[in-house]
Subunit: 258 residues, 6 copies
């Protein structure tokens, strides 16, 4: 558990403070990450680092109306299992785990929970949790959000390769801004950057829109990287993070008024 | 089981024909629906009717290179449970069910399966299935697609109310084209058509982009309808269906070459 | 979903009609089939075709006091897995699926549900569902019935081979009556017709009474057929179906008075 | 664990003897009971007592070609839960339990297992186990049998009331023969003996043949008894048990030759 | 089920007596064993024999204030699976099974249950049951105890080898006292008696205190025995059993006053 | 994720470094905590803070022969659920979660994993995991250890109240040494310090040895504290931590030689 300057962490509160927080801080922010390969330059915890950083900034902006719940350091990453170090939860266990976090928060009286996930592989499981909650705990308001898609306009304005994404320009830029000490600059190297490098099924898997299929990352890129992280700049990362924090904070503000 | 003119239905084949189909028809199309309220004018099976209709058309277009697998007549519909007749599977059971369909098809030798779902509530569960397959059955190529989002451009060209969607203009149009005998024209009535009719949380739930939250349909609309189905026209439905069929067929054609 | 002439299908009703049906039609009939080999002459969906046909006829006879719920197109068929096209649910998933159908119907107010299964492989799982319901939902009245055993007297009066059953004289006769367009007459051929064709364990498995054991169908018959379907006559099928419909209707009538 | 005179009990063997038994005694007999009310005169363990007694006799008759496996003292008894002392397993747990017994026996090399159940409530769960084994462990030969139905002819020859069965004439007679010290003769009293005592649904539940429904025993009989146990005679019990033992032994003999 | 002289067995009671016992005998004692190798000299059921014997003695001492519930004849024994005859439940199934026993007892009104396990492999699973009960059934008082650890002082006073434990001096002594007819004296032989016989990992596994690791018994001892059972004396067994019975009875007495 | 000075964290490595670590660092240390009340003076994450601190020190001492795996920030804490902020996993979900961590590490080649848990409530679930692994992944060497019990001699030398334990002298001392900034000194207050303050059942639950029962902490102490944390001294905490680190390191050294 990091000793973060910002506070608002339930983990660092006593039960006395937690009891107060149930009413004073009706929103709980839960950071979700992954424990998966991010190429030769970024750490396995990249998604958690980004999620926790955003969560801390949002909590700071909300000035006590939100608390930070326990993190989810491991996510759903079967597509990265061919790369050393990746640990993946099945969607069944990930869902059961999140659900028990929610049950605990609910028991103490919280009714608004926002999971902020740095890892897109968690999105579908989070949606299925939301669906089951509609039947099981209908008065719990549950929301979730990914990170980078919130800053799509910023990313669109950056110079990126034809194929880009996982461990590419935008993600590396965020890490250069948020945790440069964890980036191995000397090892950053372009991954798959053009569709022509992909085989037929992999190309189908990268096609935007529907139908959708998925392939494992070792089929997409020998090094596990999509795009060229060498071109990433920390100032782009700062802009992405700022946009994400703004938008999540706006959403939370509106939600807290409901 | 309907006695469809088109053929290609595994259900109607004998085991002798099925054995032949494993190699001759390497793609299996699985129609997925829902058993849920569609307002006072459309039947509970609306999503299955649309999915089966599209599947039949796609199979016809593929001329023997695809077979139609068993349908999924009930889907994930917890948001509609307040309305009589809705039957919903938990995401856990829906996933287990689809997975056993896939295991059966895999056992006989099929390696390409496309689930075509008329119901968006199935999307997330289908994605979690795809994720778990990457770890468990990596040589099974699995894809899925919704229907109406494939024809977003057509729908954008139609006259729709500010709020529209479930049982609204586009869905009703499809049914007027595909199964007019199942539409109760006399009962069609506008549902929620403007954001101003929604309370705060419901408005958040309808906001495009992220974060996402979900609310039950009885909170969105007293009658379970979003948009004004009275304005739906069968010719728009025909255009939507044609676009969907074209795009799924194109995808399948490309996939079959892989 | 077939566009059946008879009506009474919940799937084809709107939620408004479904709400009315909860009180007007207190009995729900659920057709259960299988997706399994039926030899070279009958389709994989044979059991569902027969179940849906009987259900429709019973519903017609009950004139509005029963509705037809969603079908179960795939059943418990592990004994047929060696034959191409067979898809089987584990007994665990089949039970969970039926249970969620029942939970949905119960939630809306129905208290009488009758599952009519064209496939004997579903019988035991249906019984375990009934047992668990006694503890979990004691005020739900749940019943189930197979088809052909209801017409045992009719079958006994037919000319059958020493060994007969699956895809044999009685089942083929029903299909010749109900869905002749799905029968490949040209491929009908005798399967195992005499006990002397069976090995020791298979013979034990066919012994009536107890103890009971089960063997896979590829051990019972190279073609997956027990009996001689070539001798099947549609008029026998008509008699069998008529007897089944009579007896199920009588049962339902009596039940509706309780 | 009873110190039975007959031997053949795996429980009483050492691992050295068990290793020998895998080849010398290729059949394993597993007694299954219930822990459920049997009226004011018979003990909760009635079904286990009868099953273990039969198993011992069959093992004695098979002279070393079968061993007796661990008992299942609790079964599936939701219909008796209203009566004090009844403990019931859900069908899910009962099946998982039996399956792990089978997995253990299989691991050591046994390929023939016969479950002998004194309780009919276990029948369906045993069948579902058999079905799942066809897919999962196809070379395990698994059979099961109830007790009293094996002696239907003997029971038919006894004087019984119109309604009879659980804790009635035949079951009490068996206990008077097998374990008279556990029968409270002074408390034996007629239970429900005529159909006219039953309400409509209970009558449906007692109707032979299909459809089948189930009701809880407190609806069938205030005292939990069907029939008149006062008329039970130990000599009838002896005849029933002898017939059961004969028939199971015959079956086992034939099976051992396969 | 053994016909024990002591009485107090719920299994041997009728439902009428069980109903009385709920208030007269508020404590239920559940004997838990294992079905596992105990070397060449002791039977597979050794742990159940000891547990049932202790339970009977404790029940006798409590004179009607406790009843004996159904036994658990098979436990958690994965470490013994390499030895013929061992049947092991996964911790998941063992827990589900015990939990359904407890649910049944709870339903009838019992609020104090003590599981007495002759097998240490069940300890952890019993603890997890206790933990989950604190959340799920907080007014059920649940306790469990092993056997031999209760008599640690007696065992410490016996002559034992450096390595001793499973099927060794203390366990064999108990069996010589409780069930000498089940001990094969002629086959008793020393197992592993010195740490120097163990490889490095096995030695770590035998180290007292923490950290703890586990190895399979075939790695600890070729014959499955730790210690020298040849030196076991029935009088030591009697002392061990007496100490256990005293201590469990004292605990129960105190508990019954709460 | 804290930016720890010590290194050795898998989370901070790239996949390239992780691949190297599989052989260079064959031992994985997994910190396990709890998210539970620790009285008015200690934070909810107390157990994780202590576990991560010890893990870091042990990893430092092992100089590259061990890596630190992903943390388990939430544990099994049903006994603390009455206190605000406590989040507890059921033993089923905790086990499934740890198991998937282990499966991931195993897949990449690690064969030695040590879970170091700051929370005793995780002990039993960790043991059941170890048991199931003996059957499922027998070549994975898995060990676990609690913290404070490793320093029993140090704690015995401290001045403690008659009742002490959770959030008491020893635990507070560790936190004063490891993370004084997270301790609210001004709120530290004695909890339950004498057995006479406990009711009968709670006293039974605190009795050392067997049988064991558990009660919820709100029954043990109104403030959730056992002992008097006001007397805790950081130098005692330093001694406890040093002893723990020494002993775990010694164990690991020996294990790495196996």
């Amino acid at each position: 558990m990091s000793a973060a300057p910002g506070g608002h962490r339930l983990a660092e509160m006593t039960t006395v403070e937690a009891e107060h927080a149930v009413t004073a801080s009706p929103l709980v922010l839960v950071p979700a990450g992954a424990f998966e390969q991010h190429g030769p330059g970024l750490p396995l915890a990249t998604d958690l680092v980004r999620a926790e950083s955003v969560v801390q900034r949002v909590a700071d902006r909300l000035r006590g109306r939100a608390v930070i719940g326990p993190s989810l350091p491991v996510g759903v990453s079967p597509h990265h299992l061919a790369f050393a170090g990746t640990i993946s939860l099945s969607t069944t266990v990930f869902r059961a785990l999140v659900r028990e976090y929610l049950d605990g928060l609910y028991r103490h009286g919280w009714r608004k929970v926002l999971v902020i996930t740095g890892h897109g592989g968690n999105n579908a499981a989070l949606t299925t949790i939301a669906q089951d909650l509609l039947a099981d705990l209908p008065d719990l308001e549950f929301a979730w959000t990914p990170l980078t898609p919130l800053a799509g306009d910023i990313v669109a304005g950056m110079a990126t390769s034809e194929v880009h994404g996982h461990s590419g320009e935008a993600e590396t830029a965020q890490m250069l801004h948020l945790a440069p000490e964890l980036v191995r600059d000397d090892r950053l190297a372009p991954g798959t950057t053009e569709l022509s490098e992909l085989d037929g099924l992999a190309r189908l898997a990268r096609r935007p829109g529907h139908p959708v299929t998925q392939v494992r990352y070792d089929r997409l890129s020998a090094g596990g990287v999509l795009g060229d992280p060498c071109t990433a700049r920390p100032e782009d990362g700062a802009a992405i993070v700022a946009a994400i924090v703004d938008r999540v904070t706006d959403y939370a503000e509106e939600w807290l008024k409901v």
